[in-house]
Subunit: 246 residues, 2 copies
C-alpha cells in the first residue's frame, strides 16, 4: 500500500508539473505572438520608411547617390538611372568612376572630413544629354553604422552658366558698342573740322581779296570749297554705310 | 496489482507528456529568442533608415517637407527649421500656411492628383532673408499607407531670377543703344547735308556768275557759305556734348 501511495503522489506531482509546464509554454507562445505582431508592425514601418526615402530621392531632378569609402555605390536615385540610361542593379556595387566622376584627391578628402561638406564644379558627360556642368556637393554621412560614407548631390548648372555667360558677353558687347560710338563721334567730329576750316579760310580769302584776284585764283579757291564739300558728302555716305553694320 | 500497474502506466505517460511539453516549451523559447534577434536587427535597420532619410533631407539647402491632405506638416527638414527660425516640434502638426504657403485651390489640386507633380512659382516671406522667389514642386506620395500626402520641394530661385532680369534689361539697353546710334547717324547725316548743299550751290553760283556780280551779291553768297560752316561747327560741338552723355 505504501508503494501505491507513493505512485499516487508522484502522479499528482507530475500532473502539477505538466500544468505548470503547459502554462509556461502558453506564456512563451503568447510572448512570441506579441513579439511577432510588433515585428510585423516594425517591418511595415521599415518598408514605409524605405518607400518614403525612395520617394524623396526619386522625385529629385538632381543626381543623388551614396558611395562607400571605396567609391562604390550603395544607393542611387532614379535621376542617375534615367540620365545614365542604366538600372539600379547595374550601378550598385560599382565604382563611381563608371559615371565619369572625378576621384577625389587626398587633400579634398581630408577637407571633406574636416568640414563635412565639399562643393566642386565638375563636367559630367551624360549619355543622354552630352557634357553638362554640375555643382557637386559631397557630405560625409553615417550609413549602416559605417562612418565616412559620402552622400553626393549633383545639380545641373549648365543653363545657369549659359545665362551667366550670355549676360557677361552681353555686358561686354554693350561696353564695346559704347566705345564704338565714342570713337566714332570723336573721329567724325575731327574729320569734319578739317574741310570746314578749309572752306572757311577760302571763303574769308575770297571775301577780303576776291575782287582783286584773277579769275583763275578765285576759281582755285571755289574748287577747294567744292572738293571739301564733296569730301564731307563722302564721309556722310560712309556714315550711313556704317549704320547698316552696327 | 492491476491498479498499481495502471498507475505505473499513467506515470510513464505523464513523464512522456511532460518531456514533450518541455520540448515544445524550449522550442517556443528558441523561436522567441530568434525572433527577438531579428526584431532587434530590424529595429536597428529602421533607426538607420530614419537617420539616412534625415541626413538626406537635412543636407539639402532646399525647403523639403511633407504635409497631409489637411495641409498639416508631418515631416520637415532642417532648411525649413533654420530659414523660419523655429524647431521641428513647433512645426509638426501645424497647417502649412504658418510658413506663408499659398493654399492650393481645387483646380491645381485635381491637376496635382492627375499629373502627380505640380510646379509653381511663389513668393515666400522668410523671417531670416525677406521676400524670396521660390520654385515649388509638389508631388503626391504615399506616406504611412495614406495616399494623397504631398511632398514639397522649394528651391530658392531669387538669384537666378535676378540674373535673368539683369540679362533682360542689359539686352533691352543694348537694343536702345543700337537704336540711338542709328537715329543719331541718320539725323547727323541729314542735318549735315542741308548746309553742304547750300555751300555747294553758293559756290557754283559764284563760279558761274561771280565775275559779273556786284560786290554786295558776292558777299551775300560768301556769308551764306560762312554761316553754313558755322552751323556745322555748332552741330559738331553738340556731337561731342552728346558723347559725354552716352
Amino acid at each position: 500500500m505504501l508503494y501505491q501511495e507513493q505512485l499516487e503522489t508522484l502522479i499528482r506531482q507530475l500532473q502539477t508539473e505538466l500544468h505548470q509546464m503547459h502554462d509556461r509554454f502558453m506564456e512563451e507562445k503568447d510572448k512570441f505572438n506579441k513579439l511577432e505582431i510588433k515585428y510585423k508592425t516594425l517591418k511595415e514601418q521599415l518598408m514605409q520608411e524605405k518607400k518614403l526615402l525612395r520617394q524623396i530621392i526619386d522625385t529629385s531632378p538632381n543626381l543623388i547617390f551614396i558611395h562607400d569609402s571605396d567609391n562604390r555605390f550603395v544607393l542611387v536615385n532614379q535621376a542617375v538611372v534615367q540620365i545614365y540610361n542604366t538600372s539600379i542593379e547595374k550601378i550598385l556595387g560599382q565604382k563611381n568612376d563608371i559615371l565619369g566622376f572625378n576621384e577625389l584627391d587626398m587633400s579634398s578628402l581630408s577637407q571633406l572630413k574636416k568640414e563635412s561638406v565639399l562643393i566642386t564644379q565638375e563636367f559630367l558627360v551624360l549619355p543622354t544629354k552630352g557634357t553638362r556642368s554640375f555643382e557637386i556637393t559631397r557630405y560625409i554621412i553615417e550609413f549602416k553604422n559605417f562612418k565616412n560614407y559620402t552622400l553626393c548631390v549633383c545639380v545641373d548648372m549648365t543653363d545657369d552658366k549659359l545665362l551667366e555667360e550670355k549676360h557677361d558677353s552681353s555686358s561686354k558687347e554693350q561696353a564695346k558698342l559704347r566705345e564704338m560710338i565714342s570713337n566714332f563721334i570723336n573721329i567724325t567730329s575731327h574729320e569734319f573740322r578739317t574741310p570746314l576750316t578749309t572752306i572757311l579760310s577760302s571763303t574769308e580769302l575770297l571775301e577780303k581779296y576776291g575782287k582783286d584776284w584773277t579769275e583763275e585764283k578765285a576759281m582755285f579757291h571755289l574748287n577747294r570749297i567744292q572738293s571739301s564739300v564733296q569730301h564731307m558728302v563722302l564721309m556722310l555716305d560712309n556714315l550711313l554705310f556704317l549704320e547698316d553694320n552696327i
